[in-house]
């Protein structure tokens, strides 16, 4: 019971805090930055490999 009261209290606090325009702005900006970072992590290295070929002149 006490645990549920506390949880509800924190949730209300968080909701109120997220309702602040600047907090919402910062959170969404971080979210989009996260997406960008994810894309860079996935595709940042690129693929510079070439198909192998057999060179017999060495």
């Amino acid at each position: 019971m006490i645990f549920r009261d506390r949880f509800s209290k924190y949730r209300t606090l968080l909701s109120e805090w997220l309702a602040l325009p600047w907090v919402r702005f910062v959170a969404l900006t971080a979210y989009y930055l996260g997406i960008l970072v994810g894309l860079i992590a996935l595709y940042g290295r690129g693929d510079f490999s070439t198909p192998p070929f057999i060179y017999q002149n060495f």
Partner: protein, 454 residues
């Protein structure tokens, strides 16, 4: 008014954060680009002096050849001379180690180091794309290009497997979407690149651009112009990927620019002594055959190949292949890129292994046409060329007939490169006259050009 503003903000709550994230992303990318450039510039001299740069099994070897970041850094660094070539630049025999150009100039004995770019089967069409990708960084800079005569008469065009194995989407894109190059040059290059369709099969944007460039009609050029901005953005992404790979490599292998051992201008290397040492060194590794070919390769394959090809070819067939070979077209493309960017090039050509081709049935009279044509093309583009034609009969310049340099060949190359860097290119030796009925080259020509002995 304020109310209307709030209403818009409430209706599109993601717009401003998304835009802010994008702007921050661009700022971070720009900062990363600047950091990467400074790291590359700070490490390039040390990288050039490291033997990993010519080790085909090292990661650096791939970034150097397939990317652009390190090549651009090399052009921006004053004590480096970029040298483009193919398999001859690779460390292919241990006994070559002390005389390989990378090791010979490693400690900058005369004020500079070589930055070699190239691997097996890097022909002119690939070199042209690599140089186009360096772009305006070429302006006023010296660059040496090593050619293998073998490309110009064996077959009629560059080998597709080798071309694909050297192809870089970054380099090709930098050529196709490079508005600093003239349109006719891009069109001519596109026509040649499309002759290797498998390299662009999975790259729809590049293929579309090349096809429209090659077509050249008004409608096609309009289509090309329409995708040009997209191509430029794509190139920018590839450039960042290249920087990222190099930066990761440098984090793993931190290098520092060494302080110059010799002052700019440097000292004179003792070339006659180096020639003597290299000759003596190589002869011990080429004494089981009459052609001066590498002992190991002779035993493994060349003995059989030599016997198989004895007297099987003719001057006429050689001249026909030489005349029709597409490599000349590609060489002209290289020279056009260099001319349009205002570079100061030197073309080096490995000499043909006269003794070996003599026994195949191709005489110096025919081989002379290669040197002659090379000189004519270079003269047309006002480009310096050293073709070592006076070494055609030198059995110890190359370790095989394909044109892989022996220690003696490397010292000759290095001497010319040293002269080029210090604006002391030796005068081109006269083309030795055709010797009628010279079916065998009995070392009738000097084994070393006169200038090499001074």
């Amino acid at each position: 008014m304020m109310h209307a503003h709030n209403q818009t903000w409430e209706q599109t709550p993601h717009l401003a954060p998304a835009l802010t994230a994008m702007i921050l992303g661009f700022v971070v990318l720009a900062a990363f680009g600047s950091y990467a450039r400074s790291l590359e510039l700070g490490s390039i001299t040390a990288l050039a002096a490291d033997e990993a740069v010519i080790n085909r099994y090292d990661e650096l070897y791939r970034f150097k050849n397939q990317g652009t970041a390190l090549q651009q850094a090399a052009f921006e660094t004053s004590g480096l001379l970029p040298l483009y070539g193919s398999s001859e630049l690779v460390m292919n025999r241990d006994y070559n180690r002390p005389f390989h150009v990378t090791n010979l100039f490693r400690d900058r004995p005369s004020g500079f180091t070589i930055f070699p770019v190239g691997k097996q089967a890097t022909t002119c069409l690939i070199i042209q794309q690599r140089l186009a990708a360096v772009g305006p960084g070429l302006r006023g800079r010296k660059v040496a290009i090593s050619l293998s005569p073998y490309w110009f008469f064996e077959g009629l065009t560059a080998w597709a497997g080798g071309y694909a194995g050297n192809f870089s989407a970054l380099h090709a894109g930098e050529l196709a979407f490079n508005t600093r190059l003239s349109l006719p040059l891009r069109q001519d290059a596109a026509r040649r690149m499309l002759q290797y369709p498998e390299t662009v099969a999975n790259r729809p944007l590049l293929r579309f651009a090349l096809e429209n460039l090659a077509d050249g009609s008004l409608l096609s050029l309009a289509c090309y112009d329409a995708v040009l901005p997209l191509g430029m953005v794509h190139n920018a992404i590839l450039r960042y990927q290249d920087h990222w790979n190099v930066v990761c490599y440098l984090w793993k292998h931190p290098k520092r620019t060494p302080s110059p051992i010799a002052p700019p201008g440097g000292q004179q290397l003792d070339w006659p002594a180096l020639h003597r040492q290299a000759d003596a060194w190589y002869r011990a590794h080429s004494n089981n055959n009459e052609f001066g070919l590498d002992n190991q390769r002779w035993d493994r394959s060349l003995r059989q190949e030599t016997l198989r090809k004895k007297d099987t070819r003719s001057d006429q067939a050689f001249l026909c292949a030489l005349e029709r070979n597409q490599e000349w077209v590609d060489l002209e493309l290289v020279l056009r890129v260099l001319t349009e960017f205002g570079a100061q090039p030197l073309l080096l050509s490995v000499p043909i292994h006269g003794a070996w081709y003599d026994q195949c049935g191709i005489t110096y009279t025919a081989r002379r046409a290669y040197y002659q044509k090379l000189r004519e093309i270079c003269a047309r583009y006002h480009t310096a060329v050293v073709d070592f034609a006076d070494h055609d009969a030198d059995r110890y310049f190359c370790m095989d007939y394909v044109g892989h340099l022996s220690p003696s060949g490397w010292v000759c190359y290095s001497q010319v490169l040293d002269g080029f860097f210090h604006d002391r290119i030796p005068p081109q030796a006269e083309l030795p006259p055709a010797r009628v009925a010279s079916r065998r080259s009995e070392a009738g020509l000097p084994s070393r050009p006169a200038h090499a002995l001074h």
